[in-house]
Symmetry: C2
Amino acid sequence: MTTPAQGLHSHVLATLGLAITAGEYPPGTVLRTDELAQRFDVSRTVIREVVRVLESMHLVESRRRVGVTVLPTVSWNVYDPQVIRWRLAGADRPRQLRSLTVLRSAVEPVAAGLAALNATPEQCRELTEQALGMVATSRGRRLEEYLVHDVAFHRVVLNASGNEMFARLGDVVAEVLAGRTHHHVMFEDPDPAAVTLHVQVAEAVRERDAARAEELTRQIAVGALQELDVLAP
Amino acid sequence: MTTPAQGLHSHVLATLGLAITAGEYPPGTVLRTDELAQRFDVSRTVIREVVRVLESMHLVESRRRVGVTVLPTVSWNVYDPQVIRWRLAGADRPRQLRSLTVLRSAVEPVAAGLAALNATPEQCRELTEQALGMVATSRGRRLEEYLVHDVAFHRVVLNASGNEMFARLGDVVAEVLAGRTHHHVMFEDPDPAAVTLHVQVAEAVRERDAARAEELTRQIAVGALQELDVLAP
DNA sequence: TGTGACGCAAAAGTAGTACTTTTAATTCCT
DNA sequence: AGGAATTAAAAGTACTACTTTTGCGTCACA
């Protein structure tokens, strides 16, 4: 019971990556390729390819005559979507959610400001549509539907910013929002104030009011951070 | 003339990664593993491992009966330090520097604010020291020395924020600052106003004044963005 | 003429083996 | 005790044989 596994490589990679990010192998732990090959009942070829990938994520380091050493958390490529997914699925999920939310609180306001300057008419339309979708699904325990609109909304903002680094955080935001909805709460309807703020952000972007878009998004971020403080000390 | 190359794998990876990120193979280009093996004069084993790594960076996608397809820029893992380095060494270096500087302008102020709350006495000391180092080397064409202090300063701020996502941007900031110093200018001494701001940030952090640290860092960021606008349209 | 089933072949995926290279650790000599 | 030579363990590389998936062309049928 690890992962679907279409292909030996994916399966072994998912299993090992998850185990390492979950802290099952403390930093400094040494693995040997042929031991792993035996354990997973695959050829050393497969293991080597997996190790190379883990190495590129800086989860492990492979040295001759030593083996494959698990690296400490600080050296991990924490922006790798794969690593993020593994960590969100593992033990330090709360810590991870917090880090990512703080990151969001820094990035999204600036992205919203830029979006107000750069959004295409199509993106403005899409933004408004998603905001309205949020309003429509914000009452009556329709959390799953609400989540879809919420994610789409933030994705559009990040894309419309015109900055590729911001755009690539769309997946991260999606994970965070999904995590928030699925993990705790699930009963409570979303905060009406937050919903309103989203509508206003869409407005501000449509009206090319960068300062307002940024400030409103900052308020959304503050809300997300507070929510986090309420749920976890 | 590609890269030092200690190990076939590193060499091929560096060559291919650089070529792809430089746009030498337009998206959609299909490579075949044994053709690559022949071209680089290495075994298919090595090529496969390289392809797996490139695949984990979402630079390429490998499919049976098709080959290794180069993916469009939007799907690349643009936060991967390796990818960042390749892109900074290649053709779209200016575009890349701009993206990263915008990212900095979003992240660093928030990081500085958090640093003011979380910095250890040791980190405060280090911060002050680096700021003073910047002052000391800010006049008389001592740009290389100045750069060292500048990088160290920003690294400490990011680390002191206590957020691992921020901390991991230390390398990115280092690349951006180095790029700035090395690429253009090189004659001009650093802007005295910026130097003063750094000293003041160190002060603010030492005094636990989060709002001030954030605001001052925002001013540094604004300066960096303006500098970019002056140098590249 | 269009459409769907069928089968071929190309390319990646996997396995296994043999060999090379690096290097930590041990031994041995001074 | 300290340093040089030796050893062996583990990753790195190569090659070869085989399996599996799958895009594409062919052909039959409606």
